[in-house]
Amino acid sequence: MNDVITFKAKDYKSGVKPIWCPGCGHFSVFNAVTKAMAGLGMNKDDTVLVSGIGCSSRLPAYVDSYGFHGVHGRGLAIAQGLKVARPELTVIAMGGDGDGFSIGGNHFMHACRRNVDITYVVMDNEVYGMTKGQASPTTPMDWDHSKLTPHGPGVRPFKPAALALAAGAPWIARAYSGNPNQMAHLLAQAIEFPGFSFLHVLSQCITFCPQQTDWKAIVNERQDAALEDEDEAARLFLHEDGFQTGLLYQRQRPTWPPEAAPPNDPDLTGGFRL
């Protein structure tokens, strides 16, 4: 953290202009990221944003920090490797619902289980936008706006928070692109949480899913404290409508990798003797 220079949110913008569609929820996430960085006074040189592929995965290019625009679905693998190799860095992984829950679905589950101290932001617009609007793992069953699924995908959508909980994520929150200030606050808490923090963002796709502008009327902010009990959280995540925002679940557990005990024998070569 930087105690000398105070940056405003706009100072964390790289100057590369986003090419998202006007009205895209990812603009709001971009704003929330820069606001969280400003609010925490984060040092640009100690921060790395890692992404996969998709509209949302363009975000690291727009932030004035280190960034890695990775391979489809593999942002989490890169981010975890980076954090383990360079634990002093603040590592934020990000991507979309297709990148995170389909192509990178297995990495998501194991990242929740492994609990490396990183933050993962999923910008969920329930669609593959970059490839012009195909159904993703979170698309409603009856969404029939794609030629690939003219009668809807016919498959029940993932419940990302439930999936994260079942896989062991210790910090789960949800934000909405219509409220970037709440999102920035949640993101700041996620960054400060010592462990794997999962921020699920309802981020509207104005172009392929214009009906998502209705989310504004549905989204509701959780008033209660975050749940600590896994059973209670499981009941919430399995039965809620998916539009409750706020910090939903938090229960600290040891991070990975465990701290190695100092060697008894200062001669490290001893461990390799036959």
Binding site: K17, G23, G25, K35, K147, G178, P180
Partner: protein
């Protein structure tokens, strides 16, 4: 909003004008990238005007020690600062009329915000400044209302796209 302290008021005013400018700049760039030049130019003009107001507010604020508020610590009447255009209201096929209407709503929201300070503040300097800012916002709103009146109504097909992103069967 219950804060009546001058420093808190000025901190909010600087943030309000700064966020309005940033959002208009962002929207102008996004509209230009999507070839909606007419609306891009309008948003750029709004960004310029917000910038002028920001300069004025920042000059007054420079004489005061402002509280160091984090972005989520500002006490706004809604989710974002009042003069900031909401993302849900934006579409790449936005007409100039719709863009002006949006900007008008932003100006009126800012005016209401400043007016509430002017009415509720127990501090005379704060109330006076807030009333001045509210008046300036009302002038901006009046200019936009005139622009709206001079514009012809939107073509019923203005949102149609030769390469429509939707491909339903």
């Amino acid at each position: 909003m219950t804060q009546t302290d001058l420093a808190a008021f000025l901190a909010h005013s600087v943030e309000l004008e700064s966020e309005a400018r940033e959002r208009y700049l962002e929207l102008a760039d996004a509209m230009r990238a999507h070839h909606n030049t007419e609306v891009a130019d309008f948003f750029m003009r709004m960004a310029h005007e917000s910038g002028l107001h920001l300069e004025e507010v920042a000059q007054i604020a420079a004489e005061n020690a402002l509280p160091d508020l984090k972005p989520w610590e500002f006490d706004w009447p809604g989710e974002e600062s009042p003069e900031t255009a909401s993302y849900e209201a934006i579409h790449y096929r936005l007409s100039l009329r719709q863009a002006i209407q949006l900007a008008l709503e932003n100006e009126l929201a800012a005016q209401a915000f400043y007016a509430s300070f002017a009415q509720s503040s127990a501090d005379a300097t704060t109330a006076e400044l807030a009333a001045q800012f509210a008046h300036e916002e009302s002038q901006h709103a009046a200019q936009l209302s005139v622009m709206l009146k001079e514009l012809p109504p939107d073509d019923a097909h203005h949102r149609e796209d030769d390469d429509d992103p939707h491909m339903p069967e």
